[in-house]
């Protein structure tokens, strides 16, 4: 191999130089790939391609000195490749005179080149430059870009100024330089175009949590907490929304099948029927027992319907369903009452003439009912009928199950919609009525998840 020839190039090494302005040590971590390097000490922006490091710009950092959360020189693994943090910049936009800033980290690997991490309010994006131009549809509302078969919706456009720099950059960086930045989102991804002069650079970011960044770079402590909902933050619920509705439909089908099955298999056999009179004028014990009836088949319910001829009165029945062989008793009480009349609102009624109850899980065997009626004294005879049916399908359980499935599905859908509402409330397309001060260009105003339920 000629690489082992007589004048094989030296292994590139990290260069240590001195700032021509203040003499402080300058490290060039990206070998010869950096275009500009910033003196950490005196904030001179230097020409990294010039062996003498010509001074290109000096900037005042007295206001807004910023320290990178990932110290320059730290290495981390992104998508299986080691990258070293070599540069750091802060970029600022102004909305109604209020500055909003985010940070960008320049990452370098000598084989794979440059990659970027951006951070705003604890939200991170792993960003790289696109090698082909996405197709832009300006006429769509909002405008969209398409890239690799995916459509990204325009989120916002703002003019960003570089307001602080540190380390190395693979381009001519200057403090104060501006670019028009447009973001198009399709969570968890965002495509950004940056226009400065004639040149447009397209990049794609993918959302990363602070925890992922901290793990990737082995940083100590905890990452700053993410505030609010970020433009391309994946909704923690959007995947769940589809899933839960699919599950809901699945359960619904199962329930309907079960309902039909139970309904067909149910015996619905009347085992006892009788009409009785209760003399409320009598002071003697009104309790009595019915004939013995047989409950057949498997352990199942017994539905007991009570119908009473009550008119502006009530009857209360203490029931005991007693097993002849075992002596086991199921005690329960039912009230039937019906009232009606007139008041200023017109006619009114309350209660009903009948009541139904299911005694669950009654084993087969011979049973009788002990019945003890109660009512107000001296109201004459109250006639009532009882009818006991074995093995009746209970629709109410299916209703409760349906509700139990519907509530979480509905709740998750509602929360997911709230999340999307919060996301877009920070865009150029925020509904102006919902929030007076979130007009167009209201870029990433801090919001809290607590607002999610305060609508």
């Amino acid at each position: 191999m000629s690489a082992s020839g007589p004048n094989a190039p030296q292994k590139p090494q990290v260069k240590s130089l001195n700032c021509p302005s203040c003499g402080a040590a300058i490290t060039l971590r990206s070998f010869t790939q950096a275009v500009t390097v910033v003196c950490d000490h005196c904030h001179s922006i230097l020409d990294a391609q010039d062996p003498r490091l010509a001074i290109l710009q000096k900037f005042e950092a007295a206001v807004g000195e910023d320290r990178p959360l990932i110290p320059l020189g730290t290495r981390g693994k992104i998508r299986g490749t080691d990258y070293e943090a070599v540069g750091f910049e802060r970029r600022t936009i102004h909305v109604d005179g209020v500055p909003y800033s985010w940070h960008e980290y320049v990452l370098f690997n000598p084989y794979k080149g440059f990659r970027y991490l951006t951070e705003y309010n604890g939200h991170w994006n792993d960003t790289s430059i696109l090698r082909s131009v996405p197709s832009l549809d300006r006429d769509a509302n909002p405008p969209t870009v398409s890239y690799l078969g995916e459509t990204y919706r325009h989120f916002q456009t703002a003019q960003a100024a570089t307001s602080f720099v540190l380390g190395e950059f693979p381009w001519q960086v200057r403090v104060g330089e501006t670019a028009d930045v447009s973001d198009y989102v399709s969570p968890p991804r965002v495509i950004s175009s940056e226009r400065s002069g004639k040149e447009i650079t397209w990049s794609m970011g993918e959302y990363m949590s602070g925890g992922d960044v901290w793990r990737a770079f082995g940083l100590p402590g905890n990452p700053p907490e993410a505030v609010g909902v970020y433009e391309n933050q994946p909704s923690p619920l959007s995947a769940d929304t589809t899933k839960i509705w699919l599950a809901f439909v699945g359960f619904l089908v199962v329930m309907v099948v079960m309902l039909i099955g139970f309904s067909m298999a149910a015996r619905k056999e009347t085992v006892l029927q009788g009409t009785y009179a209760f003399d409320t004028n009598s002071r003697t014990d009104a309790s009595f027992v019915t004939d013995v009836f047989e409950l057949k088949g498997h352990t199942s319910n017994l539905e007991l319907q009570t119908t009473a001829d009550v008119d502006n009165k009530w009857i209360y029945l203490n029931y005991a369903l007693i097993n002849v062989e075992m002596g086991k008793a199921y005690d329960f009480g039912r009230e039937v009452s019906y009232y009606h009349g007139y008041d200023s609102d017109g006619a009114w009624t309350e209660g009903s003439h009948s009541d139904s109850v299911a005694v669950p899980s009654v084993p087969p065997g011979n049973y009788y009912l002990r019945i003890e009626p109660e009512s107000d004294f001296g109201r004459g005879n109250v006639y009532y009928s009882i009818s006991a049916k074995r093995d009746v399908p209970q629709m109410s359980w299916f209703g409760i199950a349906l509700l139990a499935l519907l509530v979480p599905a509905g709740l998750i859908t509602w929360r997911s919609m709230s999340f999307e509402h919060l996301r877009w409330s920070e865009s150029d397309y925020a509904p102006s009525s919902s929030d007076d001060d979130s007009g167009p260009g209201d870029f990433n105003r801090p919001i809290t998840l607590g607002n999610l339920f305060k609508t």
């Binding site: 191999m1 000629s2 690489a3 020839g5 007589p6 004048n7 190039p9 292994k11 590139p12 090494q13 990290v14 990206s30 070998f31 010869t32 790939q33 950096a34 275009v35 990294a48 391609q49 080691d82 690997n109 000598p110 084989y111 794979k112 080149g113 440059f114 430059i129 090698r131 082909s132 131009v133 996405p134 197709s135 693979p170 381009w171 001519q172 004639k198 040149e199 447009i200």
Partner: protein
């Protein structure tokens, strides 16, 4: 593929061609630029020291492109406002191509002769051209400075000065370069490639990496 060795007419060192169609090479020892004639090698120039450059690729690097084995046999090195970049001359088993590396962004292109090309100074950023049914938009115009050559090239290329390149991209992810370093412009068509997809071996090593 390796051809019988010849000797450098300047220093007598052994010169080996890796590719039979190479027109020019540079002596590894004395850096003479040698051009093949029918009978022997003729010295046409001398390469000055190449600028420091940290491309991970070197002559002898091997890899794969589109299921074809590739080997790097030469390069042209240019200087522009973002530093230096390399046009690596790679030989595949079905011909020769260029693997350009600018700030570790990699593009593979093939010479595309016989197309109608805009004259020098005519192409502007944003202008569109169609070649081989693909629409390309000019994205950057680069004024570069020739810095030197190394290894084998498919044509004579030496003693250049300022050269202009126009880079173009298509919506379908294709890449094109218009090279105005000769009187007649040349077109190269290809695409951006991922470093990992090239499965490169025999790369340079970097201190600490």
């Amino acid at each position: 593929m390796t051809q019988p060795a010849a000797n450098c007419p300047n220093c007598g060192a052994k010169i080996v061609f890796r590719w039979s169609s190479s027109v020019q090479t540079v002596c590894e020892y004395c850096k003479s630029i040698l051009v093949r004639t029918d009978v022997d090698l003729k010295k046409v120039g001398q390469v000055a020291d190449l600028p420091a450059n940290s491309s991970p690729i070197q002559i002898g690097t091997e890899g794969v492109y589109n299921h074809h084995a590739l080997v790097v046999v030469g390069r042209i090195i240019y200087e522009y406002d973002q530093g230096t970049w390399n046009e690596w001359h790679v030989v595949l088993n079905n011909g020769s191509a260029w693997l350009s590396d600018a700030q570790d962004e990699y593009v593979v292109t093939f010479a595309a002769p016989g197309r109608k090309l805009p004259a020098a100074g005519e192409a502007q950023v944003g202008q569109r051209y169609t070649w081989d049914n693909e629409i390309y938009t000019a994205t950057t115009i680069t004024k570069a400075h020739y810095c030197g050559v190394e290894g084998e090239l498919p044509f004579q290329y030496w003693d250049k000065e300022d050269v202009v390149f126009v880079d173009l991209m298509s919506a379908g992810g294709k890449f094109a370069t218009l090279d105005y370093s000769d009187e007649t412009p040349a077109l190269y068509l290809g695409e951006a490639v991922e470093f990992d997809d090239l499965k490169l071996e025999n790369l340079r090593k970097f201190e600490g990496w």
